[in-house]
Symmetry: C2
Subunit: 362 residues, 2 copies
């Protein structure tokens, strides 16, 4: 590559191979002080705009800061302040779009507030939560945002509390008084989804979930479905666990279809739902003609596939943003007790995967 594109790449071209280069020491507050012929205290004062500094000195320091390209070390700052400008986030998996959306919103508002975001994944395994957040806690974060399997029995949540780290639960249900949480009405959503199915004439409805025991959300959604079924005098079948840790593309519905012949399947989340649709097709079943499918989350992809996925949509990105905002409030001592539990609204999003039950409307 010779010339071109954007400006001039020569600055990079002759950069020495990294790693061999002596890792040039970052400029510190001392360097600035020396250059501005003052004490580090004054530098600190202008950088953080804390305390009085004469106009002349202020300018000298500003110049030195600019010329040396001084960026205060968050490490040094964190050490003295006993808390970093970092937010630790634990999600089951960043590859589930609903959590990726959360993360995006969370990162965005954190960044605007001058905070960095550390991530960790539990892979939906309760046992991994603890080891996943250990590195986060070791960084002495300002706070944590956790989506755990079961907040009532989460070692991770407990450790955060024990460590005195402000924590916001995301998507989980509040279990103890004082829990800060940004969540949704999982049970109500389950009810709505089942009611929609019942309206369409469905009577044999199956509920499938990934690791059912490892998700309070899945349990709540199932309970909601059960509420609606019971209210309609319909039988409530136990939830069916589906293994899709190794991707939603290897889903096996043989067992389910061998045991029962549901006219509709409710999946505990959209990613699973989309996998279920594909699996049904592999079994020669048409969606929605033979079987209707619905999910939860409202991930963007669901709108793009054909037929569009019927789902419950919550504002994942906004939830991440809200969690970050709430956490920052907590950290700043603005933890309004009334605002500790925020339940964001959801909407039922109709989609082509849901149609009338085969023997009824077709």
């Amino acid at each position: 590559m010779t010339s071109s594109a954007f400006g001039d790449a020569s600055a990079l071209g002759d950069s020495p191979a990294q790693g061999d280069a002596a890792p040039r020491r970052a400029t510190t507050i001392k360097d600035v002080a020396k250059k501005a012929r003052c004490s580090i205290a004054s530098v600190s004062r202008v950088v953080n705009d804390s305390g009085p500094v004469s106009t002349g000195l202020r300018r000298r320091i500003a110049t030195a800061v600019a010329e040396l390209d001084f960026r205060p070390s968050e490490v040094g700052r964190s050490l003295v302040l006993k808390r970093s400008r970092t937010i630790g986030v634990l999600v089951p998996s960043v590859t589930n779009p609903v959590f990726a959306d959360c993360l995006a919103g969370l990162q965005e508002t954190a960044r605007r507030a001058g905070h960095a975001v550390l991530i960790a994944q539990s892979d939906y395994e309760p046992g991994r939560e603890i080891e996943a957040i250990a590195p986060l806690i070791a960084e002495r974060p300002a706070g944590l945002v956790l989506t755990v399997c079961d907040p009532a029995a989460s070692a991770a949540h407990l450790r955060a509390a024990t460590a005195g780290i402000p924590t916001v639960l995301l998507f989980n249900e509040a279990v103890a008084a004082g829990d800060a949480v940004v969540t949704v009405d999982n049970r109500g959503a389950g009810r709505e989804i089942a009611e929609a199915l019942i309206r369409h004439g469905h009577r044999r409805i199956s509920f499938v979930a990934g690791r059912f025991a490892a998700s309070d959300r899945a349990r709540a959604r199932f309970e909601g479905v059960g509420d609606a079924l019971a209210a309609a005098g319909l039988p409530v079948a136990p939830p069916i666990e589906i293994d899709f840790i190794d991707g939603p593309d290897r889903i096996d519905l043989s067992d389910l279809l061998a045991r029962s012949r549901p006219t509709a399947i409710v999946a505990s989340n959209d990613l699973l739902a989309i996998g279920v649709v594909a699996a049904l097709r592999r079994h020669g079943l048409a969606v929605p003609d033979d079987v209707s499918v619905a999910g939860f989350d409202g991930i963007a992809i669901g709108r793009l596939i054909a037929p569009a996925l019927a789902t419950i949509e919550w504002p994942a990105r906004a939830m991440g943003a809200a969690a970050a905002a709430m956490l920052l409030d907590l950290v700043a001592g603005r933890g309004d007790a009334a605002a500790r539990v925020v339940t964001l609204p959801h909407v039922w999003r109709p989609g082509g995967t849901l149609a009338g039950a085969p023997n009824v409307s077709r």
Copy 2:
């Protein structure tokens, strides 16, 4: 705290509302030293297994560490070591599954190596890269993994180099000698995809991209497509930019379809490709009967939709893992020059969105 640690959730039940609670000071190395009746130097030695310690003292310290649940502060450690056990990652967006996959793999290997991961997003805007990584650099990370718009003109890449921070480019092409990079053969992939289309009888092929100017990957992929078209004596139309920053669901193909009537569309990535399929349908065009579509990335969702998305698949998760591994090597001074550029293999994944050109095979 009366009783104890794990297994007893009662500590949570009656925990005072957080934020009000006096943020109980984390136990430090001094606490351990006092309890073990020794110096902090010895504690450090057993914790890091550096230097000799008698068996007796070692046991006393181990006991104290366990009883006090001592976790060394990474902040203090980072300060003296001048570098934290943290890896900063910049991606265009975590909501694009291909980057979420990268991130997942990266985070996983980083975690195993005892490193935390800080994230940042550029939203595909070159101008945002610099401000996005500033918070990362402020944390004095061990290294950075960047996916930038244009590595040849990236202020972010330049600043990382200037700051002497080991950096690995992910998905980008190496532009300067010494660049460490984990990437794929974007141009070759473009060639393959176009060859497949040509084999199917397509002659009018359009290439669409998000922000074309903001992605060296898109450019390389387009060049590859051009290679194949030219080799087949077919005209090469300029790439078409499609705005899909606000989600791939609001894609407007009116312009494209008004100007030309391609029998096949190559999208610069899968997310866009799926959006294109949906947009075509809104225009009353059938895929693949009227128009074939293909993309790049091989995101999991592409396999689940119907018809399955024809695409080039690269091992995104493994790429993230490889980038982390390479970075850690670099940091440890194991930066084998020969291993600085790793190009991972891709495969052509046929899919139902690609069929014979309308006027040829049907």
